[in-house]
């Protein structure tokens, strides 16, 4: 039925590759979002400079709500990064589990055939 006798065939290899790529992308995206979360601080600092003509600490002392605002924006962006990270990681592990399940059943079939 199949060209190769091995249990790990080309379809499994494809899924395994996608899984490895998802795992890699999850890490890259996580780093990007951590940087983006830090970028929020820079954005607020720029706003303080251009609109209020002060620095970040000056802005916070003038309007304490900006502290909460900034913290929540950093949390939101970080959370988005974490969500993408977990989803990609989950997809990668899910694909590996599918491959493992299929190989287990194939192994069982081969063993059944030999008997």
């Amino acid at each position: 039925m199949k060209e190769n006798d091995g249990l790990f065939d080309i379809k499994h290899l494809r899924l395994w590759r996608i899984s490895a790529q998802a795992d890699l992308f999850s890490k890259i995206i996580f780093v990007i979002y951590v940087l983006s979360a830090l970028g929020q601080i820079f954005k607020y600092s720029q706003t303080a400079n251009t609109q209020y003509h002060t620095d970040l600490l000056g802005l916070f002392s003038q309007n304490p709500i900006f502290i909460l605002d900034l913290l929540l924006q950093v949390a939101r962006v970080s959370l988005q990064g974490i969500v993408y990270y977990l989803v990609l990681k989950g997809v990668g592990l899910g694909l590996n589990m599918i491959v493992e399940t299929d190989i287990n059943y194939r192994e069982q079939k081969v063993e059944g055939g030999e008997e």
């Binding site: 395994w16 949390a75 899910g94 589990m97 491959v99 493992e100 287990n104």
Partner: protein, 183 residues
């Protein structure tokens, strides 16, 4: 009545495969299975196999405290304790990922609700030390409704896929575990 009950148990257990009955017989779990059930299993096994293997020490109570200590469910402990571990993924990694997904799903609700609250004008004004009048609050109602809708939508879009992913991972792991047992 007792005989009728025994016959009912016999019929139900007789439908099970010999391996499954042997597992029950050997595990000797007296909490899960009654004395009558073990009598019946012995009778069925006696008819199916030549020699009935000895039973383990009887289990008279389930040790649930270790499961609670680890924060793992019973099936998760079963997966981790299994000798035949998968080659392509790490069981513990999946379990901790599932756990983290559930935590992040809850964190999403908290963070987005706080963001929503901070977007309400009267909350912002409270932080600035001024209280918005009743008529002022009424005027902001349309804006509040839009904010509520937008935040609710963002929570739904993130919360449900995350919960679904955690369940999918659980089901896939159970399927993989069952395929191992089928080997």
């Amino acid at each position: 009545m007792s005989e009728e009950f025994r016959n009912q148990i016999y019929k139900e257990l007789d439908l099970r495969e010999t391996d499954a009955l042997l597992d029950i017989w050997q595990s000797n779990d007296r909490v899960e299975w009654s004395d009558i059930a073990f009598d019946v299993i012995k009778e069925i096994l006696g008819k199916r196999i030549d020699e009935i293997p000895p039973q383990n020490e009887p289990i008279l109570e389930h040790k649930e405290e270790s499961i609670e200590d680890d924060g793992l469910e019973e099936w998760e402990t079963k997966l981790l304790d299994d000798k035949d571990q998968p080659e392509l993924y790490d069981t513990l990694e999946v379990l901790s990922l599932k756990d983290n997904i559930n935590k992040v799903a809850n964190a999403v609700i908290v963070v987005y609700v706080l963001i929503g609250l901070l977007n309400f004008q009267f909350v912002r004004m409270l932080f600035q030390g001024t209280v918005l009048s009743f008529s002022g609050i009424v005027q902001t109602i349309p804006n509040m409704l839009v904010t509520l809708f937008s935040i609710g939508l963002q929570i739904l879009v993130l919360y449900f896929p995350l919960k679904a992913l955690a369940q999918i991972l659980r089901i896939l792991m159970e399927m993989e575990f069952n395929s191992r047992k089928a080997k």
